[in-house]
Each structure stands twice: as C-alpha cells, then as structure tokens.
C-alpha cells in the first residue's frame, strides 16, 4: 500500500469531518425548531465521531499524534479541510446547502471506499456510510421543503446555493497522490467522485425548484493548507479549553 497516499486521503477526510462537525454543533441550543436543534447536534456528534475514528486509524497505522493532538494542537496550515467546511455559518439556508453538498459528497466517498484495498478503511467506511445515509435523508428533506415553500425561502436557498457551489466543487480539489490512490486501489480519486456527486445532486436540486450555477470554477486551497480567514477563529474557539490547561487529564 502507498502509505503517504493513504495518509493524505484520510487526513483530509478527518479534518473535513472535524471542522464541519464543529460548524454543525453551532446550532446546538439555537436551532430554528427543537427537532432541528437535535438533528444538527446529532449529525455533529456523528461527524466528530468519524473524525475521531480516522485520527485513531492514522495514529495506529501511520504513527501520527493521538486524536486529541491532531484535533486541537496543530497549526492552521496543517489542516486539510476544504474551505466550504470552515466558513462561518451565514444563516440557516447556508447551513442546509452546505449540509446537502457535503453529505452527498461524503456518502458517495464512503460508499466507494467500501471497496478500498486498504482494509481497515474499507471496514470503517461501511459503518460510516450507514450513518451518513441518515444525514443525507435529513438534508434532502429540508432542501425540498425550503426550496419550494415560499418566495423568501426559495430565494434564500438559491442565494446560499450560488455562494456555496464553487466551494463545494473545492471539496474535490485533487491531492498530490491521486494516481497512486487509484493505482493501488485505495480510492477511486477526486475527479470520479466529483462526477458521481454532480450526477446525484443535479436531479435533487431540480426537484427542489433550485438551479445549479453554470460555473465550473472550483474554489480550492484548503486541501493544501491555504485557508480562508474563517478557519483561524474557529480553531481558536475549538481549542480554547485544551489550551487553558494542555497537561490536564480528562
């Protein structure tokens, strides 16, 4: 197995799950209705669980620092999350659109990883996919509901979609080891993932009365550690308790 390639793939997946999970958790206590408060909190808990499992596997198989150190103690440019996930949550429409784009991408990614030649990752993927199925279900329900409800809900969803789409394309920013991942059977590669993702979301967007922008410009950078201004404050907040007493035992 190409270790560097597998490590790079898992690291960006773990960072996506952690940072996205943190953004989702920001709805805890302030969701628009109680069920949504619970839903976002639960999905967040799943994502942080996925991040933990991936960091754990990275530690065991590749000797990276432990999950807490990986999650809380790295420098901003060492995180490989896509920019879409780090953006502060503008409003509920943006949160739902990000949720829709991101979870469809993750659902397909983990579905494909079930066939990975890296067995431990394939086993984990089976489990994680079953959880993300529920996340996708939730996202689809709300996209349809708010895409077609009132003029205001429709226009806010469309505006959020227009803003988020180039960054959603950035999820599939190619890494330095695409060919190695494909050749070794670890993963099918970002380009193929992006194609399958577009095929899957297009009809759902149409059913929701919304339109995909015609742009194919992807906003990239996150995968190589070039982030927007929104990541640093998030990391600052996320690691505040750890930094207050790094030696504490929990």
């Amino acid at each position: 197995m190409n270790k560097e390639a597998a490590k790079e793939l898992m690291l960006k997946m773990a960072d996506d799950a952690l940072i996205y999970g943190h953004r989702l958790s920001e709805w805890t206590g302030i969701g628009p209705i109680l069920e949504e408060d619970i839903a976002f909190s639960s999905i967040s808990q799943d994502k942080v669980g996925h991040a933990w499992q991936l960091y754990q596997l990275l530690e065991v198989d590749f000797g990276t620092p432990n999950p807490d150190q990986m999650g809380f103690e790295r420098k901003e440019n060492e995180y490989k999350c896509s920019r879409l996930n780090e953006f502060y949550t503008r409003d509920y429409a943006f949160a739902l659109i990000r949720h829709f784009f991101m979870d469809h991408a993750e659902f397909i990614r983990y579905s494909l990883l079930r066939a990975s030649s890296y067995e431990a990752l394939a086993q984990l993927a089976k489990k994680v996919r079953g959880e993300i199925k529920y996340h996708v279900l939730h996202a689809d329900t709300w996209i349809k509901k708010l895409g077609t409800a009132t003029e205001e809900s429709h226009s806010r969803m469309q505006a959020a979609l227009n803003e988020a789409f180039p960054y959603a394309l950035g999820i599939f920013e190619p890494g330095p080891f695409e060919q190695e991942l494909i050749d070794s059977g670890i993963f099918i590669g970002e380009e193929q993932l992006r194609a399958e993702w577009l095929d899957e979301i297009r009809p759902l967007i149409e059913e929701s009365g919304l339109q995909l922008p015609s742009t194919t410009n992807a906003e990239m950078g996150g995968r190589s550690g070039y982030h927007s201004d929104d990541l640093a404050p998030l990391l600052e907040e996320m690691s505040e308790v750890v930094r207050s007493d790094p030696e504490a035992s929990w």
Partner: protein, 165 residues
C-alpha cells in the same frame, strides 16, 4: 480448542449478558449485538471483540470498562477488549429478546431489513405504547444517536424508536 477454554468462553458470554448499554439500561450488550467474538489464545490470553453501534457513541468507553470489570470479577488477569469494524453493526444484530426489552422500555423496535434500511423501514414504526401502526415519523434524529422521534395517531403519544440502521 480445549474443553476448558470452551467452558471459559461460555462463561464469559454469560457474564457479558450482565453488561448494559448505559444509554438503554434494559438491554445487555450481547442482546444489542455489539460483541462479535470472544477468543482465548494458546497462552490463555482473552480477547473480547466489539463493534460500536455508532462511531460517535459516547457510551463506548463505559461499555469497554464494564466488560473489563466483568472479566476481572471472573478472576481473569490477561485480557483485552478490542474495538474494531471487522463486523459492521446493524440493528439486525439486536436479538428478538432485545427488541422485546426495548419495547417494554418504551422504545419502538427496529424491524429487520435486508442489508440496508429504506425510507419505509425508517418511517414505518410500531407504537410501543399501544401497538398501533398508525404512526408518523417526526424526525430521524432523537435524544441519542440511535433513536428517531415518532408520533402515534391512535394513542396520541410521541415516542422514540431504536432506528433501523
């Protein structure tokens, strides 16, 4: 395997029936289906393998400690609890007895599915209070990761259900 080890493994499985999931303290981890194997190697070292219900389940560590305590109480010294995903947990792994216990506890039972739950499996729930099937899915996320929220149109109670996964 020696007769002695076969007996020991039986004894361990029995003891594990006394370990509960702290989030649903009426069902044992054996009925829940998260214990996937118990083995003893030639040196007498015991390995209990478990697969979590959800990756982010906060009860994993508590359950692990519960298992270790049971093994210690049986007088064993060389053992470990290994968490892995060799076997994927699904709600199909919950025993019939376990499902009855969930229902008694007030949680709707997850019906078995063919490998992957479809929308109907997720939406169609039987009310644990009155047994009615005239129910409606309110939210796929409940008070813990493994529960969804439903409403019964007959007894007009809301209820939580153990999700089919």
């Amino acid at each position: 395997m020696t007769e002695e080890n076969i007996q020991k493994i039986k004894e361990i499985w029995n003891a594990l029936k006394g370990v509960e999931d702290p989030e649903i303290p009426v069902i044992s981890i054996v009925d829940l289906g998260i214990i996937t194997d118990v083995t003893i190697d030639e040196k007498g070292f015991i390995t209990v393998e478990m697969t979590p219900t959800f990756t982010g389940c906060p009860a994993i560590e508590v359950i692990k400690k519960g298992i270790e305590k049971k093994l210690a109480n049986l007088g064993y010294e060389n053992y470990r609890v290994e968490l892995n995903y060799k076997t994927t947990w699904t709600s199909n792994r919950i025993s019939d007895e376990g499902r009855d216990k969930l229902e008694k506890f007030g949680l709707g039972r997850p019906e078995s599915h063919e490998g992957e739950p479809h929308m109907e499996d997720i939406a169609n729930a039987c009310c644990p209070h009155c047994g009615s099937e005239n129910t409606e899915l309110k939210s796929v996320f409940g008070s813990t990761l493994c529960r969804s929220i439903h409403i019964c149109h007959d007894c007009r109670q809301s209820f939580e259900r153990f999700k089919p996964v």
